[in-house]
Subunit: 422 residues, 2 copies
């Protein structure tokens, strides 16, 4: 069977199975996810054995220790996966919610109601926990899942899918709603991305190059997740006692993630007072500095080592302890810089002026604006979603952290008594 | 300048101009759209002259009379465009609406607010009125518009864009928010569809082949509009006095549009009573019939001419007075047929049973389900949106008729007092 035919058959099978999800009650779906959590825990030993196969293959292939660690499962991580599933099971159902309702002059009654997408494809890398996280979020939102993980985790993913299917077999939900897509070659990904009409949505999770490939290739509607070149703008009306902790937390709390800050912009009117504090704090935290000319002069006068920032620097998502620092003349100039170099993810302003904050909010054009808070708060858990399938970096459908709700679409239900158009 | 550079410069110019829209008040945007309406009316003569150029070229090229009629503007149609713009101006603003709001345990205050997309591309065919309709809907929702119409309407589109820009020049909104994309070659479309990062959203409107091309080609997020293979299912519990008018209205009221019905499915328990009524009514209305074997036998016994429906027939959006008729054994069987041959647009059920309606709603998987009403009601105006930029045929972002609201995205505003993550 060629890859397209295979994907079509997996998707058809998933869609038929998904009827058991669509017609299930909220408590049926919850029960199914709880059954998955229990099954994961009770089959911990089997999962560890399969994971060891992936690890052995990785070691033999000379895989980087950091990647091996991402691939690794142990009892604690498996318990974490089960508990994560239980948390999702206990969230309110996102389905059947009436978003709008009205009665027209001709007596037609309109309701717009949340419903599942249907069949959702996930294309992701390394970490086997995504297999469980994604599947349970999709199940709770009524969707069937086509899971295409990394070939380096193929044994772990295979057992995790088997465990989930076995759990579902004990419930009213068809095991067909979870389908593992073979990960041996790239053809299966390509076929998945072109299965428009068979698959309703594809979500990529992983490296920038994986996401780029999915976005470029896919004819199935997709949600881009990913890159964050986030800025902290310290306004002329900033409270500097708030600014330093926000800056340091945004940059250094977890530099590898997308909501970490990469660039500090400082209003020129407070630069003289704030820059020495900021540069010392960053330098003490081990942050390598890339600065514009004025900031570079300040750094030199303080004996702090720094280099001149290139055009490339301002565009870079470092993911490590490096940061760009520049001076701007106004909120608008900060927004100009962000429009030129940002990625529409998270932008922070530190200011005590509501007018400055409002102007920044209107111009920043991003998924989340932080006013006097760390950029690190753009996160499903921190924002109270309870679960996150990814952070959308695009404007269509969902923007920012995506929870259960983002995995639903709507249908219009129009109820009449025989109305026709004249 | 090559096509990519041209599109990039138009998009950049539009984005800078769009700041005047983003920072404008609702009444500023309303005023701008009203100014456009006035300018259209006052420059009717100029518009007619330009349109005559397009018509002359069309006649010289042997354009089909029906297409010439779609291209034609006259005083009444121009007045219609102006009045349409006034209607949009008087709709409630879709911007600045707080969709969700909460305060977290750490004191962070969260708001999810509607904001414009930014720069939206429209790729469309023939009718010059789309140039005005699309531009004013995008303006009212705070977006800049890159308009790429058909080359056959190039003179009309050029004057309409000039008129709109002249109107905006008298307001606080920058004329740069409307940009005409040259329509001489296909390169400009290709460049527009690949301007990810420069353009936030592309919407195609026109033929199935245009929409397919946009969906296949675009790396910019897009919303598919278009095809409707809509079904009317007459359930065993149908009130037949409602069923006949709904059937005839769905099929014959305006057969060329996407919400017209193409297929009638009849529950076998009422087939004997209902089919003779239905076939006679369809035949009297001039509808050519494509039937399954049982329906064909009934038609023959009534002396009504019909042919056996092929696999191809069930998949076809006729757009003219032709219809498929089949018998099914249950609501689930009707849903199976719809899943196999439908396009997730509009599906109607005629039934007095709420249980049958609920099952049909759960299984139909479409933008709109009509319960005892004509399929023709899937329409922005009929559903009270006041304006429609198209009907979404996909599940991502918007489903069904799209009004002003569908042209917005959201941003999260997180307000703190110096909170950091620990």
């Amino acid at each position: 069977m060629d890859a397209s035919a295979l994907i079509a058959s997996l998707a058809d099978c998933a869609r038929v199975g998904a009827r058991t999800l669509t017609t299930a009650s909220d408590s049926d779906r919850k029960f199914a996810v709880l059954a998955i959590a229990d099954e994961i825990e009770s089959r911990c030993g089997e999962i560890l054995l399969a994971n060891e196969e992936d690890l052995a293959r990785g070691r033999a292939d000379g895989m980087h220790p950091q990647l091996l660690d991402r691939l690794l499962l142990n009892e604690a991580r498996i318990a974490g996966m089960a508990n994560g599933a239980r948390q999702v099971a206990n969230l309110p159902s996102p389905l059947g919610i009436i978003l709008r309702e009205s009665t027209m002059a001709n007596g037609l009654h309109l309701q717009q109601k949340t419903v599942p997408f249907g069949v959702v494809g996930m294309v992701y890398e390394a970490r086997p926990n995504v297999t469980i996280d994604a599947a349970v979020i999709l199940l709770m939102s009524g969707n069937a899942a086509l899971l295409r993980g990394s070939s380096s985790a193929s044994s772990s993913n295979a057992i995790l899918v088997e465990v989930m299917k076995d759990a579902l077999a004990k419930t009213s939900i068809s095991p067909d709603v979870i389908q593992l897509v073979p990960s041996e070659d790239r053809e299966s990904v390509r076929a998945l991305l072109h299965a428009r009409g068979k698959i309703d949505l594809v979500i990529p999770r992983g490296s920038a190059s994986l996401i780029r490939m999915v976005v470029d290739e896919s004819t199935v509607p997709t949600i881009e997740t990913g890159a964050g070149v986030c800025h902290v703008y310290v306004d002329q009306y900033a409270d500097l006692e708030k600014a330093i902790p926000i800056l340091i937390n945004s940059k250094t709390h977890r530099p590898s993630v997308c909501n970490a800050a990469e660039t500090l912009l400082v209003h020129e009117n407070i630069a003289e007072e704030f820059l020495p504090l900021a540069l010392k704090a960053l330098s003490s935290a081990g942050v390598i500095l890339h600065c514009d000319e004025r900031v570079l002069a300040t750094a030199a006068s303080l004996g702090i080592s720094a280099e001149l920032a290139s055009h490339e620097n301002w565009l870079t998502e470092y993911g490590v302890l490096e940061m760009n620092v520049g001076i701007v003349s106004s909120v608008d100039a900060a927004a100009d810089h962000i429009a030129r170099f940002g990625t529409n993810h998270t932008e922070a302003i530190v200011t005590e002026s509501q007018a400055a904050a409002d102007r920044f909010i209107a111009l920043a054009d991003c998924a989340a604006v932080m006013v006097n808070a760390s950029t690190r708060f753009t996160d499903g858990e921190q924002m109270g979603f309870g679960a996150e399938i990814g952070i959308s970096n695009q404007k269509l459908h969902a923007r920012g952290p995506m929870g259960l709700e983002a995995m639903t679409t709507t249908t219009w239900i129009v109820t009449g008594t025989g109305q026709i158009r004249s």
